[in-house]
């Protein structure tokens, strides 16, 4: 009985994994296709990997995407973390009000957020990299706040107040007491913001200016005429790179976990 359950569980996990990875496998196969058209197989080739690195447009879009994701999540953390601390200190009524506002970009459809920002931007600032950055920061802050807030709520503020009573300055106390407590929330917020920014298409599409392309908007523009094979090569490289990073990191953290639990110290 137990054995049957094991087998069924294994089959089901395998099924979902195939579902999640089948399209990625298709993309990887396409990156080795020696034909410009994705629907015909022209033999095996590595050439798209070579041409990828001489394709200035794709590299530019990659750079824009990464800088945008890094920049918008970093700024979102810088604004969002103090924001969460401040809102947490407010009265219940104000707290609920501002947390409600924080939820707006998350509950609103991407298309509405993107269009509202575009309508607003066209009156004041030229559309370009800057407008996309502002838009990404706007939809990233809520992820930071919603990740940090539970940590703040669990935080033992008496330690902070004790250090203050003992004469430590607010800045010192912040960095020594509050920040380490909030760190896991900040990091998961940053990670989410980064992922959301990398993956966003709709909001970028509506707020971008001429000549600014992220990978998403570039790919969307290529749907009609056929995706450039270099895109498949780039995706394959990203897939391999992220896989390696995640596997290495997992191994390290799994090992460390064993060590720390041997010492009887459970860290978060």
């Amino acid at each position: 009985m137990r054995r049957l359950k094991d087998i069924l569980s294994g089959i089901y996990v395998g099924f979902i994994a195939i579902l999640l990875y089948a399209p990625i496998l298709v993309l990887i196969v396409l990156s080795f296709n020696d034909s410009r058209s994705r629907v015909t197989w022209g033999g095996f080739t590595f050439k798209w990997y070579a041409t990828l690195f001489s394709n200035g447009q794709i590299l530019d879009a990659l750079l824009t995407t990464v800088v945008l994701a890094l920049g918008s999540s970093a700024i979102a953390v810088l604004i969002g973390v103090p924001g969460a601390l401040g809102i947490h200190a407010m009265s219940k009524k104000k707290y609920n009000f501002f947390m409600g506002l924080t939820n707006i970009p998350m509950l609103n459809a991407d298309i509405v957020t993107g269009i509202a920002l575009m309508l607003w931007f066209v009156h004041f600032i030229p559309l370009g990299f800057g407008s996309v950055l502002l838009a990404h920061i706007t939809f990233n802050i809520p992820y930071v706040i919603l990740s940090v807030m539970p940590r703040i709520q669990q935080m033992n503020v008496s330690v902070y107040e004790a250090t203050r009573d003992l004469g430590a300055g607010p800045v010192y106390s912040f960095f020594k007491v509050l920040l380490p407590e909030m760190m896991p929330g900040i990091i998961s917020g940053f990670f989410m913001a980064f992922t959301m920014s990398m993956d966003d298409f709709v909001i970028t599409y509506f707020t971008k200016g001429a000549g600014v392309n992220t990978l998403s908007t570039m790919i969307y523009g290529q749907i009609r005429k056929g995706i450039k094979p270099e895109m498949y090569a780039l995706s394959t490289l990203i897939f391999i790179a992220v896989s390696i990073i995640l596997i290495v990191v997992n191994n390290i953290s799994d090992k460390r976990k064993t060590v720390t639990s041997d010492n009887g110290i459970e860290r978060i």
């Binding site: 601390l85 809102i87 506002l101 509950l107 298409f201 998403s216």
Partner: protein
């Protein structure tokens, strides 16, 4: 929540100044602008036509179809995710970082490319039919139908349902389950009385993260629907791109926003539980 702290040290509230300013400038004001557009016509005079346009047969049809897609997508995501997480827990994968990694990794690949790959899998002469015919089955015609759109949105948003359910179920204390079993509860009773109630916050979180985007997406229906089927997102997008009718598009956006806010009354309740949308 620690009620005693913070509330007293209200001097800390100034820290949220930059954020409140940011909300005002980049969340509230854009919404005011979109409201203004929705309530005016091309000449700038007041009208309710753009909002009431939501009741036109074309738009009602698209909204109804969007609703069906969103409802079906949420349903199938739960249907696929819940057994997946239980199976992972059963196999003891829950404690391994590897399992989290399996779920997150696809999200790092561009979603438009992944949807295009689905189009190649599902097309009439595509990989799925190649597989079916080589196994001796009849080929299926899914390409450019609502079934294809459904597969696309379920695929796209499945991780957003898997992650919160995973987080909720893996957090359940193993002792609790053992205790229930020791007291004679059957496997099903343990599930009904322990696992299910404790996973509700994860389910709600996942529902919010799946329902809204699947209702309003326009890229998936664009690629997998073959231009024959329109979600409300496609109509709004058309108003802003090909149709050159920003006022109408704004009106539909506002109507859509109101609809979503009304249809999500439970979100406010579940925020109080402090779980919110923390999925990682």
């Amino acid at each position: 929540m620690n009620e005693s702290e913070g509330r007293s040290s209200s001097r800390r509230t100034w820290l949220s100044g930059p954020y409140i300013l940011w909300i005002a400038v980049f969340t509230i004001l854009p919404l005011i602008v979109i409201f203004k557009y929705s309530l005016t016509d091309n000449a700038g005079s007041f009208t309710l036509d753009n909002i009431s346009a939501v009741f036109s047969p074309i738009n009602m049809k698209a909204i109804w179809f969007s609703f069906k897609i969103a409802f079906g997508c949420t349903f199938f995501c739960i249907l696929l995710s819940y057994p997946m997480v239980l199976a992972m827990k059963h196999l003891g994968l829950g404690k391994k970082s590897f399992s989290l990694f399996i779920i997150i990794l696809p999200m790092w690949m561009n979603f438009i490319l992944r949807i295009l790959a689905w189009q190649m899998i599902l097309s009439n002469n595509g990989l799925l039919n190649l597989l079916l015919t080589s196994l001796g089955f009849e080929p299926v015609r899914i390409a450019n139908t609502s079934a294809a759109i459904m597969i696309g949105v379920v695929y796209d948003y499945l991780p957003y349902m898997l992650l919160p359910i995973y987080m909720a179920i893996m957090e359940i204390n193993e002792d609790l389950i053992e205790a229930a079993k020791d007291l004679g509860a059957s496997g099903f009773t343990v599930f009904r009385k322990v696992i299910l109630p404790l996973s509700v916050p994860g389910l709600l979180s996942g529902t919010v993260m799946v329902f809204v985007p699947s209702m309003t997406s326009f890229v998936v229906s664009d690629i997998l629907g073959g231009g024959k089927l329109q979600l409300i997102g496609n109509i709004i997008e058309q108003d802003f791109t090909a149709g050159n009718n920003w006022h109408m598009g704004s009106g539909l956006s506002v109507a859509l926003m109101i609809f979503i806010l009304i249809s999500m009354p439970f979100t406010a309740k579940h925020e109080d539980q402090g779980h919110e949308s923390v999925i990682w």
